[in-house]
Structures are given as C-alpha cells and as structure tokens.
C-alpha cells in the first residue's frame, strides 16, 4: 500500500496518503497563483479515505471561488503559514499541495493522469509538458459538459502577454 507522507515547513502538521492520486490537476488560475505565490498549483486529488492527518491541527480559511461561487477550504499551519491541502463544497476529495510531500516526485505529475487547467491565465516563462491534457479554463462547463482537451506533442511555452 502507498504510504507517502508530507508536512509543513516547521513540522507541526504532518499527513499521509495511502493511494495514488485519482487525478493530478496543475492549476494556473489566479487563485492558485496567489495561494502558492508561484505560477501554478500542483494539486493531486485523493479520495477522503486515502488521506490521513498524522499530527497537528490545521487552521482553516474558507474561500468562495470567484469562478464557481462554491466554497473551498484551505488548511494551513498557523506557525509557518504552509498550506497543506484543500477541501471542497462540491465534492469529497482532498486536494493536496503537491510540493509539501517529503518526496514530491513520488507521483507522476506529467503523464496521462495529469491535466493543466486555466491556461488562459498561465504566466509567460512557464512551459507546459508534452502529452498532458490542457484546458483554457475548467475541464467541464458550468452545466457539467466535458470540454475537449488539447494535447501538445512538444513542450509548450506560454508566450508573453
């Protein structure tokens, strides 16, 4: 069984997951840029039963999504500010901040199970890998209709604005 652990910078909060991610989202939206401070969030999603909090009690910030209007909760460490995972109003999966795993490369973030989303707000200087599903915004419409992805056969550099 998978047993991959992660935690915050100061070590107060620790977690483990016990399965491969159901899906890996690499999200370039403005919320994820601000939440990470970086260009995108690497957000592997796990079934709730495969995620285990091992130590500490996270602080939660509830945020209403500008896009969907639904609530999402950010769970972070009050001592060092590290954000560890997201929970969502509209589904029960856990979205982990991928860089907080002790071995962040343990899951495949560049293969068929990965999708880059909200590329309409992606930053110049970022290169999207070949072979992953790409979406300008969400992979489904607000009515729940799947959007066809585009897939690049070579690394795809985001052009300057």
């Amino acid at each position: 069984m998978v047993n991959q652990q992660g935690g915050c910078l100061c070590g107060k909060l620790r977690y483990a997951v016990h399965a491969q991610p159901v899906r890996v989202w690499v999200c370039h939206c403005r919320f994820c840029q601000r939440a990470t401070g970086s260009a995108y969030l690497i957000d592997p999603h796990f079934e709730q039963g495969d995620f285990e909090l091992l130590a500490g009690a996270p602080t939660t910030y509830a945020h209403r999504s500008a896009g969907s209007g639904r609530m999402l909760n950010i769970h972070f460490c009050d001592a060092c500010g590290t954000k560890l995972y997201l929970t969502f109003e509209h589904h029960s999966r856990i979205g982990v901040f991928g860089g907080t795993f002790d071995a962040p490369g343990w899951f495949d973030a560049s293969g068929e199970n990965t999708a880059h989303i909200f590329l309409s707000s992606a930053r110049p200087g970022i290169v999207v890998p070949a072979g992953v599903e790409c979406f300008e915004e969400r992979p489904v419409t607000p009515e729940g209709v799947p959007v066809p992805p585009s897939v690049h056969d070579k690394p795809y550099a985001i052009a300057p604005d």
């Binding site: 601000r34 945020h63 500010g81 560890l84 991928g98 907080t100 071995a103 962040p104 930053r123 290169v127």
Partner: protein, 166 residues
C-alpha cells in the same frame, strides 16, 4: 510611478513595491517546493527601500536555511495563510516577494533579462525549464559569494530526476 501591489487571498495583508524588481528567481529547491506547495517559487527580488506595507500586520516564521545556515523570515497572513514575502539574514538589502501574489500579472513585463532558474538539481521530475534562461544546479553564488557559471538550454529542457526519496 508604477506600483506593484501584492496581497493575500483574504485581503487583510497588502504591500507594494515602487520600482521594478532587481532580478527574478525561479527557485526549484525543496524549501521553495514546500512553501509554495508547487514545483518552484517565482520570486521577484526588490530593494528593501522600494517595498512597504499598505495595510495589515504580517505573521513571521523564522526558518534556518539548510544550505547557508542563515535565517530566512517568511511574512504571511495569519487569517488565510498566504505568504507575501521573505527577508534574509544573508541578503539584508533585499526582499523576495511571492510572485503569484501580485494583483497585476504584468509585474513581470521586461524582466526576461534578469530572470534565472535556481536549484535545478532538486527540481521535480517532469518540470520543464524554458529555453534561453540562465540555469544553475544550486544557487547562483557559493556560500562565500563567488559567482557560479550558468547553463543555458537552447530548447525546453525536461528535468528527469528529482530529490532522492527519504
């Protein structure tokens, strides 16, 4: 004068810079992976004198760098956890801002010539480095301040190895 406004998700904490960044670091080290939750930090570096508070009061977490042994202060919002900037014992004249927290993504315009990628030896597998930017396996300088030679890729470069499993 152009202002570079940054803020946290909940809006409590607001800062701004009043001059363009000196340089922009894309840092792939394990520390930057953990603090962002992503594969790297996008870090525009400003003169401390050009950066100041607009509103709110930041919490500070003091972290000792595993590489240099020097202290790094991470300034973040206690309400929403968003990190806005870092100050450094090692580099007291500058502020390293979390690039994703700018209101206007156009902060990065004109910074291509001062951009570099750091700590490629720790980058997550599958990370793609753009062509034409200086890349360093570790920092751009040694702990004694000696500059290191960059490598520049002519095509996008896919990183094949990451940090060893613990």
């Amino acid at each position: 004068m152009r202002a570079y406004n940054v803020g946290c998700l909940c809006g409590n904490l607001r800062y701004k810079a009043t001059a363009p960044p000196l340089r922009v670091n894309y840092c792939h080290c394990r520390f930057c992976q953990r603090i962002t939750g992503s594969s790297h930090l996008v870090e525009p570096v400003f003169e401390k004198a050009d950066f100041g508070r607009t509103s709110g009061s930041a919490s500070v977490y003091k972290h000792r760098s595993a590489g240099s042994g020097k202290l790094i202060d991470i300034h973040f919002c206690a309400t929403c956890g968003t990190k806005l900037f870092m100050t450094f014992e090692r580099f007291p004249e500058v502020v390293g801002v979390f690039g994703g927290t700018f209101d206007d993504a156009a902060w990065a315009e004109g910074t291509q010539g001062v951009t570099r990628h750091l700590f490629l030896r720790e980058a997550q597998p599958g990370t793609v480095i753009p062509a034409g930017v200086p890349c360093f396996e570790q920092h751009a300088i040694t702990n004694d301040g000696e500059p290191l030679d960059p490598k520049v890729y002519s095509e996008p470069h896919v990183v094949g190895t990451g940090p060893p499993a613990p």
